[in-house]
């Protein structure tokens, strides 16, 4: 009869396990494909071993895409962190204004990134967009937002920031609200200033919460696709061709399946490595925060 007891959890996870295999299977298949030269024009491909990866790493286009991707991810995650924490701190004061605004904080996060990109595309139109209209009085009427390499990258990051800052803010706010009060009371009794309290108490204790958000954001923006697809489609030139866009062009538009997947496999490895490093870091930060809270 004992086997029934040890087997029970397995019975419960079998459906999920099957479904997971259903998702894993194409992953494995994808990995397998990268060893071939499978494309629309070659439906019965030959094994090429690691040639696809060799091509990826020797292509200038890959290194350009990798660089753009990193710029995008670092830029977006950094701005979102600073802005998100700032918004959380401001909301945490819980003034009347803050309490009202907090209810709508989540809105941009609920909008599909691709829709957000469409919205911003319309607003950033140099000729008819509202942003240049509003900037006109300041003498900035004719900015070519998505038309210059730097502008296009910054505009894409702006959309990312618009959508995802609430995510960081929500986590930071949840963190702020769960901090122990005694260290702050002690600091207040000692007459510590706002900045000192923030640097020495709030930030170190809050950092684990924020870091979780940053990890999520950083990893997600490494695989950005929707926003760029709808906003710039990778242009102008190759200035916003991030890795997933490159993979899309290769695999879908040009129908070179194997080669396109090789790109995403490399990206996956990068994201995974980044996650490992960050999670390790998170553990350290959490211990430190616990020490501060205990003092």
């Amino acid at each position: 009869m004992g086997w029934r007891l040890t087997l029970r959890p397995y019975v419960l996870i079998v459906p999920a396990l099957l479904l997971t295999c259903g998702i894993l299977y194409p992953f494995g298949l994808g990995l397998y494909y990268t060893l071939f030269d499978f494309s629309a024009s070659k439906p019965q491909p030959d094994m090429v071993r690691f040639e696809n990866y060799e091509t990826v790493f020797t292509q200038e286009a890959f290194w350009n895409s990798a660089w753009v991707t990193v710029l995008y991810a670092v830029g977006a995650a950094a701005v979102e962190t600073v802005l998100g924490v700032a918004v959380a701190l401001l909301l945490h004061r819980s003034t009347i204004v803050g309490r009202v605004l907090e209810k709508i904080l989540i809105l941009p996060l609920m909008i599909a990134p691709v829709i957000a990109a469409i919205i911003w595309k319309l607003m950033l139109q140099p000729s008819v967009g509202v942003i240049n209209y509003l900037l006109k009085p300041f003498g900035l009427g004719g900015v070519q937002w998505t038309d210059t390499p730097t502008g296009a990258l910054l505009s894409s990051i702006a959309v990312d920031v618009w959508v995802y800052t609430p995510f960081v803010a929500i986590l930071a706010l949840a963190g702020l609200r769960s901090l122990p009060t005694s260290p702050f009371e002690a600091a207040a009794v000692d007459g510590a200033g706002w900045w000192y309290t923030f640097r020495r108490l709030t930030l170190p204790m809050l950092w684990p919460y924020v870091l979780v958000a940053v990890i999520f954001r950083f990893m997600d923006s490494l695989k950005v696709f929707d926003i760029i697809y709808a906003l710039t489609e990778g242009g102008p030139g190759d200035s916003t061709v991030v890795l997933q866009i490159r993979a899309y062009l290769e695999a879908i538009r040009f129908q070179r399946y194997s080669f396109g997947i090789s790109y995403t496999i490399v990206l996956w490895a990068v994201v995974y490595l980044a996650a490992m490093v960050l999670v390790k870091h998170l553990g350290k930060i959490q211990r430190k925060a616990a020490e501060v809270a205990a003092k």
């Binding site: 009869m1 004992g2 029934r4 007891l5």
Partner: protein, 364 residues
């Protein structure tokens, strides 16, 4: 009397931690058995193993002589009161009490159930609280509801896990008295877990002392009190704690303290020169009574209501004793005193060792 609950060689580990290490336990039919031990000793695990909520890695659980292997908790017919109460927070007190009576195994018709719940609520003094959601009850009230959920249904055994621990001292004392008086409890085999030796002594027909997943001693309260199996058990019972003075066994089987100031003839059944501890319970030492005499000086006195705790310096050692207030009037620190202890009240133990407490040595 037949054995209602029997545990044979139960082992249970959680990862690297061993919770139960070859536990043996017998509880007789209708008996009220108290399992006493510090936290982490394996008390709760023992209860859950009996209930079938935990599966032992080795050993067998028998209820009424039947091996319970593979029998689901709901088929074991035992009722358990959890230390955390485990009341359903989304239900009212009434629904919590009614839960067993609505289950497939103990189902009663609604009217009958209402009657039964009324009786139990009356008994526990919670009749007025039945409509309240559990979240709005005090700890004491929750405790009673949890107990009620156990009592409301028929059971072959009650398993009670520290049911009084979260109560304040007064309520605890009151409940302790009531609990024993409840008819169902008197009739039903009860395995009661506590870390409070007073509770164990007050309630238990028999007491089992559990430590590190093993039962170190089982017995009636007298056996536990007068013949503790080792220094730990001796320390666990009685407040103030038993005095344990280090020394050696002399050539003639007597005891001599380490500094030589105390010598007592005890008839130790141990080789001369063995390191030992002699145990003197504070309430067994008198100021003017019969027995062996010891002289020392008063160190400090502390009034405990009608009696007084006196700490006396005997050479390099200190012993405490409890004496009636009338005997201690006029005692000041540094006053010389003479203590006496009856030979039959002397307990002798091996010296404590790092790996285990000293075992009791038989005396003549």
């Amino acid at each position: 009397m037949s054995t209602a609950i029997a545990l044979r060689g139960i082992r249970k580990t959680y990862g690297k931690n061993t919770a139960l290490d070859g536990l043996e336990l017998d509880v007789a039919e209708g008996e009220f058995f108290c399992l006493l031990g510090p936290s982490g000793a394996g008390k709760t695990t023992t209860l859950k193993t009996v209930a079938g909520l935990e599966q032992p890695d080795a050993g067998t659980v028998e209820l009424d002589g039947k091996d319970m292997r593979g029998v689901e908790p709901y088929d074991r017919g035992v009722a358990m009161c959890f230390e955390s109460y485990a009341l359903y927070p989304h239900k009212s007190a009434y629904d919590n009490l009614a839960s067993p009576l609505r289950s497939p195994r103990h189902r009663l018709p609604a009217a009958q159930a209402r009657e039964r719940i009324g009786e139990i609520a009356e008994l526990l003094g919670i009749s007025a609280l039945l409509d309240r959601p559990v979240g709005r009850l005090s700890n004491g009230q929750r405790q009673r509801v949890a107990l009620g959920r156990v009592l409301v249904r028929p059971a072959r055994a009650f398993l009670l896990d520290e049911p009084l621990s979260h109560l304040d001292a007064k309520l605890r004392q009151q409940m302790r008295a009531e609990l024993k008086a409840i008819g169902a409890v008197q009739r039903t085999t009860t395995l009661y877990v506590t870390h409070d030796s007073v509770e164990a002594l007050a309630l238990g027909d028999r007491i089992g002392v559990i430590r590190d997943g093993r039962l170190v001693q089982t017995g009636t309260r007298e056996e536990i009190w007068y013949r503790p199996s080792d220094t730990e058990v001796a320390r666990a019972f009685g407040r103030p704690r038993i005095n344990l003075l280090p020394g050696v066994v002399t050539q003639d089987g007597g005891f001599r303290s380490a500094d030589g100031t105390i010598e007592l003839p005890v008839g130790a059944q141990a080789a001369p020169g063995t390191d030992v501890l002699i145990g003197l319970r504070p309430r067994d030492i008198t100021l003017h009574g019969p027995g062996h005499e010891l002289t020392g000086t008063v160190y400090v006195t502390e009034v405990l209501g009608r009696s007084v705790e006196v700490t006396v310096r005997l050479g390099e050692q200190q012993v405490s004793l409890v004496a009636p207030r009338s005997d201690t009037t006029g005692l000041r620190p540094d006053d010389p005193v003479r203590l006496s202890v009856r030979p039959e009240n002397l307990l002798l133990f091996e010296a404590d060792r790092p790996e285990r407490p000293g075992r009791r040595i038989e005396t003549r």
